[in-house]
Subunit: 333 residues, 2 copies
């Protein structure tokens, strides 16, 4: 027999890098095989899982802390779109042999920032080997008052369509990573390049605005696969159509610079992925109250269109002419 | 604009292969971004995530239906070790381009069998691209009456140590896959080879015995990384030691045949992974009641040792002599 202190490599990694993130009593400091969560009374649990994979959703040489934050944040963004507040998450990571302990230390340090910032502790996890790519799968649990989850299926004819923040930044940030000549062509000053690159690397989930969304939205979801395609999903689930005005879609200064230099960028701006903003329908009479409630949390809310009757895919108008896109939505499949 | 019925590739795959598994009302038939679960009153939720990766936990050419079942079952096994009943699960899969729709059809068909058999519906999921390996991550939710989860930390000095089923089969089954001469050396008849191979491919989680485990066990966990190492984890969490008798460890007829031909196999039998049986401590006075309750569900329970005082790693005795192993537990790290 070996030393009493002997632990497996996985146990040691967990104790060192992940136990500090398991601040919820349900997690038993990760010494047990499972968490035991006492559900908060009167609340429904909102459940979501999303995975990100190296070489697909992030670049293998991206800073590990940002990879960890992105993995959690894409899930927190879904919760925000449902009007839910984070309760905690389960983490499953597959790591190739080349990933060393420094990588893992940076990964867990990044995660620690968001665990604290979003008050979303680690409830449990699994660390396994991968033959090649890093894969990070998060299952997040949020809460809403019973029956109050904002659904995709709630949009009603006449509702206004709103989005948080600015759209298209991440899609342009990804283009900047892939196409080295783009920054020059788009006449982007350095700080605008950095803004777009950062928006791709690190989503800003609209957790702060979840209460405003829950209080006022009739339907909602986060925008992760491009505005036009995600709006089509919202409409399909709600049995409605919609018209949006592309000129009203909120753009960052950087996206405006790029679009002015290359008008064809309207397509990736409106159909590219990784926005992680919230798209919602709101009864016209509640629009101003919702805008004020969101503004109180530092979240800009912009009206971009209206829910209409019928089952046609949403119309995207620009200066009173319909825009047509080859692919309305980002899909890996 | 395109046809009104246009959906993204991922949406189509989800509707075709996964919606039929989402029978719980919380899942909204997978048309929403998230599930909204009304927690069952008076119950704690037991949460666990475990991932399996092609080339690491299964062979890339294993039947996809069995891969799906294994991914769910390794998580159900954890629930059983905690005395918990399945409520539902979230599924996150990363698939390389070479995986075609026939693979996915077989994968979901396998999953459908277990969703029904274990009454564990799909609550939500995510399907992403992988550059190379298939990764399947499951986050399972179970229930126990409030405060009743069986913990790793509950073993008391004097308690008996019990295991369900038979141990070592999967480790031998894996050796048969890797070492083509083993079946002959071990003098294994064909049906015994098949038994061991099947035990590696398809775990049998002890879900049926969860009630018996919860009613009688002082501490428990599933055996997934080898008996000796997992017993050490149970002891460490409980602040105790233990002595087990290797001769009492329950073996299948196939494992007995192999062990008789090659006595050194005692090491993989006691330290190899993938058993997915339950290891528990039980007060001596409750042993017979626990055995009877387990037997009523068709689950064999075998006493293999005793919890002792101290913090030394568990002793494994064979014919009154201690056995020593190079590595007590399976670990990919």
């Amino acid at each position: 027999m070996t030393e009493p202190t002997e632990e497996s490599g996985e146990d040691r990694l967990i104790a060192r890098y992940f136990k500090p993130l398991a601040t919820h009593p349900a997690a038993f400091g990760l010494v047990d095989d499972a968490a035991a969560l006492i559900p908060p009374p009167g609340q429904d649990l909102v459940l979501k899982t999303d995975a990100i994979v190296g070489g697909i959703h992030f670049f293998p040489d991206d800073p590990p802390g940002l990879v960890a934050q992105k993995a959690l944040r894409v899930n927190l963004s879904d919760l925000a779109g449902k009007g839910a507040i984070p309760l905690g998450f389960l983490l499953s990571i597959a790591l190739p042999k080349r990933v060393d302990e420094a990588w893992l230390a940076a990964f867990s340090a990044g995660l620690a920032i968001d665990v604290k910032h979003y008050n979303c502790p680690l409830l449990g996890g699994d660390t396994v080997r991968s033959p090649d790519a890093v894969m990070v799968s998060v299952a997040v649990i949020g809460t809403v008052p019973h029956g109050a989850m904002v659904k995709r299926s709630g949009a009603k004819v006449g509702d206004r369509i709103v989005v948080t923040g600015t759209l298209g930044d991440a899609a342009l940030g990804l283009k900047l990573r892939i196409d080295t000549g783009a920054a020059t062509r788009w006449k982007l000053p350095r700080e605008q390049q950095q803004h777009l690159a950062h928006r791709y690397l690190l989503p800003e989930p609209r957790t702060a605005a979840a209460g405003a969304i829950r209080a006022h939205a009739s339907g909602g979801m986060d925008v992760s696969d491009g505005l036009v395609g995600d709006l089509a999903k919202l409409c399909r689930a709600s049995g409605v159509s919609a018209t949006i005005d592309a000129a009203r879609v909120p753009l960052s200064a950087a996206a405006r610079t790029a679009f002015a230099a290359e008008p064809a960028l309207i397509e990736p701006i409106l159909t590219g992925g990784d926005d992680y903003e919230v798209l919602a329908s709101v009864p016209a009479g509640q629009l101003e109250a919702m805008r004020a409630a969101a503004a109180a949390t530092g979240t800009a809310l912009t009206e971009i269109g209206t829910v209409t009757a019928g089952h046609a895919p949403p119309s995207v108008m620009l200066h009173n002419k319909p825009l047509n896109f080859a692919q309305r939505s980002f899909s890996h499949f």
